[in-house]
Symmetry: C2
Subunit: 586 residues, 2 copies
């Protein structure tokens, strides 16, 4: 129907007859001539409907209102001197219309397109209007381009995209499953996959060697700001590979994705053992765009007069005293800032936030200074590498709590002092995760990894010291994804289940088919997954996951556009052999 898209036209097209299609972004009558800004996915162009050129087109133009759908035939000409619009890509030209068709009308809109002050609920209800902005189109254009780039990279590296089932059985991620009642098998249910984990491992057993999929995954969890009930991940698995080889593929993939987004990144990325990330940054997803680092000072306080520190310093394995030196902090952080930071860390279990400033003369100042010996002060200054004008915060207490709140303090200070360069991309692999997490006497597999993760030192007697061949990729403090080398030998798998207290029966019921598969010649294999929605969010610098999903759900898992979920016909439930459980009457 069209000869060009609106913003494809430029000065070189002057004199051309064109047909354009799109929406009336705005219109105005100026001295009997009607000017319409016509919009399509590429942008805007000005249409001129002058009765001197075409009476008929002008007459139709008088009926045009916001968001009417138009087809306009006309000739491109230069705007007159002084009439150019430098804010518009096509601002030097306009189209003199000789034929105008109103292809469809529009009722008055519930909100102005692009108005971000409109309540999100209204925007989600009319998502098709919310998506009419240039910004939205460009976000989904990037999302599409990035997916193509990812696929082409993986294809070129010998990976096959294989689709795994959506109607399937529970997977081992341990979150809550979405269930689908079966019509043919009364009382039985499919589960929607939390990931293609088991299937991709089975494809390795099948000898497919290199698999990937951009896969929909499902978790029926209470939603945080950056979670959705269904999300997309780039899922990769390969055989006969070492941890280094998997990491190299992941780096190549990330590089291809960023290149497609116009961002150059340097590979290989740095790697950091989990232990180091926790001790130095108080997080297993450290943001390395700024230079703040925690310093271990517990040994300095072994015999200090400051009783609370001295007591804590007696148990070096269970406790931590961490310093966070802040360059120029004595000058840049006000008393009010420090109070706010004290309140901030209190939310995460800190019982206070000790601090000292380094004075001009090099001596320390602050509420705790009077308890410190000269030797302690000197060792502190040396250990933290501080000088005049700097400030040191202290966190002291149980290891886990201190690392957590000092990590958060680090990020908060960086934010407060504007230390974060938004244009930097700092990637880091976190490696050497502990295999198990021991909490209140119970052995758990380390968060985000599953019981098929290969341990590095499986024969060790000390399960606390056992690390895993798992790796997470972190960008600017956000976990993009991760993976592991998997267990491919039945006897190792058996041992891990034993340590985890998973009985043979439970293991068989949940993962019996995987355990079977491991018996028939499973190759060594491993892989990773990247959260695709979050990746697109970072690439487009949007801060809401809903901005990068075409038809998102609310944090309460509702689609306000289609009204899903919704009640269904009782006949449907009957066919599915279920009934609704009526709430108990009180």
């Amino acid at each position: 129907m069209r000869t060009h898209y609106c913003a494809q036209l430029n000065e070189n097209d002057v004199g051309k007859e064109v047909v354009l299609c799109g929406w009336a972004n705005s219109y105005r009558d100026h001295g009997g001539v009607i000017f319409i800004d016509l919009r399509d996915k590429t942008g805007l162009i000005q249409l001129v409907c002058d009765p001197a050129d075409s009476k008929e087109a002008h007459k139709i133009a008088t009926r045009v209102r916001d968001e009417y759908v138009l087809i306009a035939k006309g000739k491109v000409r230069l705007r007159g001197e002084g009439l150019e619009n430098p804010r518009l890509k096509t601002g030097k030209i306009e189209v003199v219309v000789d034929k105008l068709t109103i292809e469809n009308e529009s009722a008055p809109l519930p909100f102005i397109i692009g108005d971000t002050n409109v309540n999100e609920e209204i925007r989600l209800k009319y998502r098709y209007l919310d998506l009419r902005t240039k910004e939205a189109y460009e976000t989904f254009e990037l999302r599409s381009k990035v997916a193509i780039a990812a696929r082409n990279f993986l294809d070129e590296n010998g990976f096959l995209e294989v689709e795994t089932p959506v109607l399937t059985k529970s997977t081992p991620e341990g979150a809550r499953d979405y269930l689908v009642p079966s019509r043919l098998y009364p009382g039985e249910f499919y589960a929607l996959p939390q990931s293609p984990q088991l299937f991709k491992q089975l494809l390795m057993v099948a000898g497919f060697d290199r698999y990937f999929q951009i896969a929909k995954c499902f978790r029926d969890e209470d939603l945080r700001a950056d979670r959705q009930p269904e999300f997309t991940q780039i899922d990769v698995e390969m055989s006969f590979c070492t941890e280094d080889e998997v990491i190299a593929i992941a780096e190549g993939l990330i590089k291809a994705i960023f290149t497609a987004s116009g961002i150059e990144v340097q590979t290989p990325f740095r790697r950091m053992p989990y232990h180091e990330a926790m001790e130095n940054y108080g997080s297993d997803k450290p943001d390395l765009r700024y230079d703040l680092k925690l310093v271990d000072v517990i040994d300095i306080f072994e015999d200090t007069e400051l009783k609370v520190f001295r007591d804590i310093a007696q148990y070096k394995k269970l406790n931590r005293i961490k310093a966070l030196p802040v360059k120029n902090g004595a000058d840049t952080l006000t008393r009010k800032d420090i109070d706010e930071l004290t309140n901030f860390v209190a939310k995460f279990g800190a019982k206070g936030l000790a601090w000292v400033k380094v004075k001009e003369d090099g001596d320390l100042q602050g509420p705790i200074v009077k308890f410190l010996s000269e030797d302690e002060k000197n060792r502190l200054i040396e250990r933290c590498g501080v000088e005049a004008g700097d400030l040191i915060f202290f966190g002291a207490g149980a290891k886990k709590t201190v690392l957590d709140y000092m990590g958060r303090l680090r990020a908060e200070v960086a934010k407060k002092l504007g230390l974060i360069d938004k244009d930097r991309y700092e990637f880091v692999w976190i490696v050497d995760f502990p295999m198990f997490e021991i909490e209140e006497g119970e052995v758990k597999i380390k968060a985000l990894h599953h019981p098929f993760t290969m341990p590095k030192n499986v024969d060790s007697e000390d399960i606390e010291a056992m690390t895993s061949e798992a790796y997470d990729i972190v960008l600017n403090g956000v976990e993009l994804g991760g993976g592991s080398i998997r267990i491919h030998k039945p006897q190792i798998q058996k041992k891990i289940f034993e340590i985890l207290g998973i009985s043979d029966e439970e293991a068989r019921e949940k993962f019996g088919f995987l355990l079977d598969a491991l018996q028939y010649g499973a190759p060594p294999h491993g892989g990773f997954a990247l959260g695709f929605d979050r990746l697109v969010m970072l690439l487009t610098k949007r801060d809401n996951i809903r901005d990068v999903i075409a038809f998102p759900k609310t944090q309460k898992a509702q689609c306000l556009l289609t009204h899903a979920p919704s009640p269904v016909d009782p006949e449907q439930l009957k066919e599915l052999h279920i009934r609704i459980r009526e709430p108990k009457k009180v």
Copy 2:
């Protein structure tokens, strides 16, 4: 871990040190030397473990059994004269092993890999073994390549891949939905999409202009041989387009897909109005690889002595008398063949199958000939274009029944006479579908199209004559997909709902959000979908849809590998506010 894949090696690699990884496809001890055929995704290569080369490797080789996972280091050499294996791509070479690792063992297999005589249930239960054949790998390799080619073609043509929700509301295809109970909204359910139809239309309203998706779709129907509960379609939609423009994109896409599969196809494809397809081929998905065609002969029998034909010929609108002339049929079809074909059409409602043969002298022969006048015979011979040695079948009766069984007869005769060239690809667009189907007084939308299809002559009083801007693409008698131009004006949509007897209330409840969207400036738009599984099936010449799906379900919608569906924990149901409806006790 490896330096090469097995079948990458050839004579040029002689002398090279290599490391290979894979499975013991077979092994044999020949005079104290062990020969192992090592297999990976690329194929086989022979490993030689001679104690004269490495005592240790040979010792390990004695433990190797079928499907053990091996890593072999060694040197490539030419096989001796007369020892070459011409059936193997690597048959001129072998690898002399100096280091062999058994990376994993394998229990004895439940069946021999690649044995197609094994019961399908067993093969599906151990799908990861069933997929270990070269044929399976190549099928999924093609599937992956074809998907990449489709995406790149659409990307290059300005289409964005946009993911639409899986947890959503009922869509208008009218098949049974899979439902997902909501945990947060007691008594409410999501539905899995039967297609992204409504969402893709909303994306057009949003101004996205060109959308595609390779999308999972779901239908809870009783399964035929070529159906699965979840299937994949290439789904496309575009704005400001004519039927011709959509068809051109579909043809470009199909061409790109076939080219990626090594098959050249010529575009544009021919087009055939629905009416012509039905009258000439007795099917709206005619197989055009062979030259058989139905001929209308009802007028010839208006005054015939053959009473049954004469009676039928009195009602030309409701009835049909169709001839199927078969070149050389008098010689190639035996009496037994004709009896079989008579039984065949009887299954589809034929009350008999009249036939005549053309004798050497040009006269006709057969049970009905004695009732025919000279004039009728001459007109028949001329109309059907038959000559000596040919045969004509006749179908007579109610239009729908006759067209159906004569269409099936046409295909069956082609099969019997070996007229089908398996290497030909005959595409045809079926166009100008009637908009409505009137069955027993009830107006229905024509099968496979939905109530959003644009009628061609909406102001016609005769709804039977109303055709739609819908088009199906047929390849070799198989429907690959289809689409339509959609209704974008609320008033036309309203009229169609009226004709269909869909009340305002019902329309609002089911598609309210689409009707809303049409009010806010919906552009003209249309699109299509191609069945991706079926396409891959045709491209790989497999005749079972399960062969092209990595983890398929049985015709009873079960996954025999994971045992889905399966019972779940009663606690889970409680959280979802449902209970199982116990079967009535008799």
